[in-house]
Amino acid sequence: MVSIDKVEITPAPPSAKPTLAASGWMTRAQEAVLPPVVALLIAAVVGDVLILSYGQSPGTVYRLLIEGTWANAYGFGQVLYKTTTLTFTGLAVAIGLRAGLFNIGAEGQLAAGGFLAALVGLVLPHGLPALLTLPLYFVVAAIGGGVVGAVPGALKARFGAHEVITTIMLNFVVLALLNYFTAAHLAVAGTLHTNAIHSGMLSRLASFWNGFHGSAANLVLLIAVAVTIGAWWYLFRMRGGFELRAVGLQPEAAEYGGVNVGRVWITAMTLSGAIAGIGGLNFVLGYKGYYEDGFASGAGFMGIAVAIVGRSHPVGVLLAALLFATISQGGLAVNALVPQQIVDVLQAVVIIAVAASVPEVRRVLRTAAGRAAASLRTA
């Protein structure tokens, strides 16, 4: 048998030193930013058509939308308040996606974090300094959400239970349990909320600048920004993030690289749940000062859209949260001219347009389809 076994290799021409600079930085930034921008343009066109169909001028409606959100302090404060919660739930979903997991359970995790924080708040004595209570609340909310997140992670690692199913189902379980505890044991008579917390409430932004008067925006916004930076640091600068992303991209290669894939799943889901849980502080500590049943009101699910539009990148998530908060608050502002539901349509168009182009989603869907096909084959 003849094999080509010896080749005269022409010596390589003396080339420049290996390039280490991220030469593709610009291209990659374009690739990341382009789909959301195109999606926004598509949404704007669809919005025009809808607004025209109601006999209104798109210019007027959009002007009203901007005036009701970014152009006045109260509206902007409301946008910031909504941005805060959406940042947490968006980051939660994004971290899951980075590990190859679709966390649909941010809604329950958010509620559990807020509930546990409120529970602790109710038993804390009056007058403790915020410097002492804030770390406690932070940790407790993270534990509340983290435990709810860890369960699907552990079920997947141990039994291979698909996280989409378990997180969806756990939402029902958690929300029903919280509803029961609140209604049966903790609620102020005639309401579905607890007594007020007396210790460690966080200041509204309005107390620093009066322009925000009346809006719910509060200092938890700063925590959201800090957690965003922390999530970025973890994902892209830490060994844990290196391994987490490796598991999300190619679990077999991660395993080959000495990564315990099951442990990463549990870690990622716990982190994801914890971040969603911390989001509960926005309502409980920053806004109302008590836990109220149903406060999450879809913010957990909206986190999926935020993560997808934000391309599962922490900075992208922050910007996407701002976008969805603006659209949502803008819906209230334009209610007089067109039905508020138009903005729901716009949100949906943005999500569909981005989802169709985002690799993370395509990859998760593809592996899900692949697994289904594989199980059919072995069946």
Binding site: S3, D5, V7, L20, S23
Partner: protein, 526 residues
Amino acid sequence: MTEPASASAEPLAIHLTDIVKRFGAVLANDCASLQVRRGEIHSLVGENGAGKSTLMRVLSGMYEPQAGRMEVNGRDVTGWSTAQAIEAGVGMVHQHFMLVPTLTVAENVTLGREITRGGQLDRERAIRDVRALSERTGLTVRAEQRVSELSVGEAQRVEILKALYRGARILILDEPTAVLSPPEIEELWTVLRGMRDRGETIVLITHKLDEVMAISDTITVMRHGRTVERLRTADTTPAAIARAMVGRDVQLVPDQSAGRAPTQPPIDRIGASTLLTVEDLHVSSTSRANAVAGVSFTIAPGEILGIAGVEGNGQSELLDALAGFRPSRGRVAIDGRDLTDLSVKQRGDAGLSHIPEDRHLRGLILDYSVADNLILGQQHRFTRGGGRLDEPRIHANAARQISDYDIRPRNAALPARALSGGNQQKIVIAREMARPFQVLLAAQPTRGVDVGAIEFIHARLRSARDAGKAILLVSADLAEVLALSDRIAVMYGGRFVVVLPRAEASPEVLGPYMTGADRGDGSRAA
């Protein structure tokens, strides 16, 4: 370029002119041309990534060319669909089989052209038809058997039958011998010659020169997406074809010994001790309870043990178990240290290095940068202070490996996906050679790698051997096993059926063991 076909008055079976096919920025076919006469076996050769498969996919209607002209039997068919290609009798057998494992041979062959009677499947007639076709062509298979029970060679015959059943008169085979043992290859040649003698046309995509010389009448050589030469097999030599393939002189060496210093005979180099010890290893796979059924061997420092065998005889499961991906029974030890209960990471720290058989699945994270891929598996060694990645050291490591292993392009920030197969494999080799190790598992180290990189990788394996490492080499390429190994084991049905010193091994000696005709226990299978 010679034009041996133009003299004939009969239209060419296949006549492709200046085909251009672009994928994004990649020019897969750049004015590629192909002329094949009716009733000949034509080899389409070239290195990996030369554009052979792309050109054949254009011909079979899977891809639409951006430019160029396609004629089949004198008819202009430029940009036709797969359905039209099948209709016109062009059939392609792909490298990766496209069969439904739960269906029988007859059902697979007739799939899409089912024979019905009154709206019901006529199973008996399907079986009869497939049997008749099987007898006529010499492609022996049992029509009632489920495809999941077939060997790889049999599955390939089913693929060919499927194409013929659909009326293929022009048959394209993409690297058909990659999964076959030497006797199975001979059988395939007999079948193909029979088809040629009946006037059918065959195009064979391959990069193995001995096959080209053995079977084809004419040859087209492709390089970098272009067709660079058209040759008559009778008028050429393997060296000339190799030169056309790589575009420079290539020295063909019949077997090993290359690179081994004559002053250093293997007997001196190989120590008396053992570095890797495997005792009575049993491994189950998802489909088979005893994929590895009691394998024992040792490898000495400075020794390469090569495992030959047809793919699917437990080699992958053996490697998975040694690497720690798959649970196993038995004992594995490196230099006396028991690995049996250790994790993948712990095995790496204990001195195990691993070039995995599938670099796209395990060996690389394709979306990670070259720099990040060069630390995969050793990320815990590239941290400082509480799990923070040590970027400066990661970059320094990348810069060193890229220049030591001549990884191109020389850009550590590119995703691994953007590199060619050979350069991707160099990343894997560089990483696994750079870590501290005593035992190296080298699985298909040159699969899908171009000729220049193959020599480079072989040289690295030899120098690791000379440095006293123990190497377990698994390769589907028998020539590679023969070229590198000091001892050769043949794996069949999950067992080592024979272990021979290199000097006693040859394709002729190993062939019967590879097919299971000789089980190594004195008994000969029927």
